[in-house]
Symmetry: C2
Subunit: 370 residues, 2 copies
């Protein structure tokens, strides 16, 4: 096996993993029942921090004990996940959560029981591990399905390769799943902001019109709901390079939800918000008043269905939207309209209306939802 | 508007569009009823050409007439699609089939009727246009959702940018939806073959292990079922650079189906096969005997369900599998096994088993299914 040079982050993560293991071993040597204290990931232990404007976990933990009939199995699984991710880091390799599951899945000798009965038994243990040692899964070398692409006025180093995102043709740079500083470093960035669009086809319109060149920005999409890699990259670009993030999404509950995840993180994975969420992200459009404002044809309206209405009401109750007059008005207007609008609907005006007029006007007027 | 330099292909496509329009106009000026003859896209007009080993369309056409109550609407839509794609080509722009739909969707003056009631009314007309003037939709400047990424020993020109795929870090080059010669040109390609894998996470494993460097190849994935851009790029790499294509897919009916589409095209879009299908593509794995051969743990088996069994039988009846003993044996063994296997299951052996042993061994032995 080749020599692996561990990054500072890898050394830190390994130390946390070893620390956890040591504490378990110490308990055993002292003839105490081995146990770990795992922060509770339930909704009851999650709250919205108004000052920091992110979702945070509370301080509640629960004990996972080896000598407890109902916890022995998950205790064993926790140790397996720790061991598996330690191997990954030491070998300088990454895998998917599915790959880790297969790596760790074995029939336990003697008792014919499986270490994991299915991936649904492994995934929560991975999340436990993240909160237990306060590491993102990416720091545990666990990758998700990559999706999304980026172009624009930025040069970055990915592993040892220099990637000039202003020279990436029509395809762009495929955003990897793990974009931690030991993989991606920013070399040069003349760009002044980031435009995040929902869909690859819309991204294509902006890239073809060289929007990022004219407006000196970075253009990124995540193929719908942005995957972790895109969200984490947005976070790093925003925080390390101080670039504002503007989101161009559909005028529908799904678009609102995508914005909400970029901005605040997902409620189920509250623990990652502090390193994924961008409370300062701005919603550039589409807006519920765009149908009138942009003089769109009747025929682009898509009627809201019951699910849409239900989702819209749920989203309007999110803590970060609840006290925002603008958002309440926005959602109320969509419900009142009775229809939703896709970004592509703007091509009803003309093919490049969205790049030549819509977005430049919003940017000029600084007309965003917060 | 900036001056647009049309590519040779664009000039050709415009000529076909104009030719179609002229023939309609001529009929009108001669006081004949305007009509176009559209090749029939129904299954009844599709057959498998044993010699060329691709799905082909027969010669049957059907007339679409303006002065026919049941055809007037689709005649009008056909002309609209021709006009819309002509605009796109002339402006040097591309859009999605959804974008084109919005571009063409209008309320017809006077009669309050919509040009298209929904995208499902527009999509088939686009397919009609493809067969009518014998152009791929990409040549009509229609893009699909991009997906997939590529790395390896190849340098290409995408628009005006030179992309060295051996210097693309962990992310890779995002494969665009339109990869026609007017967008993508191949500059230098020392690579000797192409490894196509199903999933981004598996691709990640191969890229991390620098498989393409060790084995001098191109590594590509399409995020599951490969989108048109990836298929067309594989086709061009295979035919223009004479590179063999090997597919690494799951040992399940879905994996077989992906291989079938890469190899023969999809039955519904038979007309595109001659410029998308790669009859010489080879199925590298996973194979139904890999469970035993690779000494995998019981626990990686995934039981076949009824849908799997049904799909497997359907696929074994495909004309290009029906007379192949190897494929009949392969599918029969999977059914007999009663389980399927994912590529990731190989990490049950060790994390890099798939890149260090499995694929190199198959390549060395030239052990593929055809």
């Amino acid at each position: 096996m080749p020599d692996i040079t561990l990054s500072t982050q890898d050394v830190k993560t390994l130390k946390s993993l070893a620390g956890m293991a040591e504490s378990v071993a110490k308990q055993a040597f002292r003839k105490k029942d081995p146990a770990v204290d795992i922060p509770v990931r339930a909704l009851s232990n999650v709250h919205f921090n108004d000052r920091k404007r992110i979702i945070e976990m509370g301080k509640r933990t629960s004990q996972r004990q080896l000598f407890n009939l109902s916890q022995a199995r998950s205790f064993m699984q926790t140790m397996l996940v720790a061991d598996g991710t330690k191997q990954l880091i030491e070998q300088g390799k990454s895998t998917s959560i599915r790959g880790l599951y297969y790596l760790l899945k074995h029939t336990i000798q003697g008792i014919k029981e499986e270490t994991f009965n299915g991936q649904e038994e492994c995934d929560p243990v991975i999340e436990d591990m993240e909160v237990l040692i306060n590491s993102l899964r990416e720091e545990l070398h666990l990758a998700a399905n990559p999706a999304g692409a980026m172009v624009g006025n930025i040069t970055l180093i990915d592993k040892d390769d220099e990637i000039d995102c202003s020279r990436m043709g029509s395809g762009g740079y495929a955003v990897p799943s793990i974009v931690e500083p030991n993989v991606i470093r920013f070399k040069k960035c003349p760009a002044k902001f980031i435009l995040h669009v929902e869909k690859g086809t819309v991204w294509n319109r902006f890239n073809e019109d060289k929007f990022w060149k004219k407006h000196n920005c970075i253009l990124i999409h995540g193929g719908g709901q942005p995957p972790r890699g895109v969200r984490r990259l947005l976070y790093r670009l925003h925080n390390e390079l101080k670039l504002p993030v503007y989101c161009l999404l559909d005028n529908d509950p799904w678009g609102y939800y995508i914005y909400s995840v970029v901005k605040q993180g997902s409620i189920n994975l509250a623990f990652e918000s502090q390193r994924m969420a961008i409370p300062e992200a701005r919603f550039l459009g589409l807006r519920s008043n765009d149908f009138k404002r942009c003089n769109l044809s009747e025929s682009v309206k898509i009627a809201l269905n019951d699910t849409d209405r239900k989702r819209a009401k749920q989203i309007s109750e999110y803590p970060w939207f609840k006290n925002k007059k603008q958002w309440q008005k926005e959602i109320a207007l969509m419900l009142d309209n009775g229809f939703k609008l896709e970004v592509e609907a703007l091509s009803n005006q003309s093919i490049s209306f969205v790049t030549d007029e819509y977005v430049p006007q919003r940017l000029k007027e600084e007309n965003f939802l917060d």
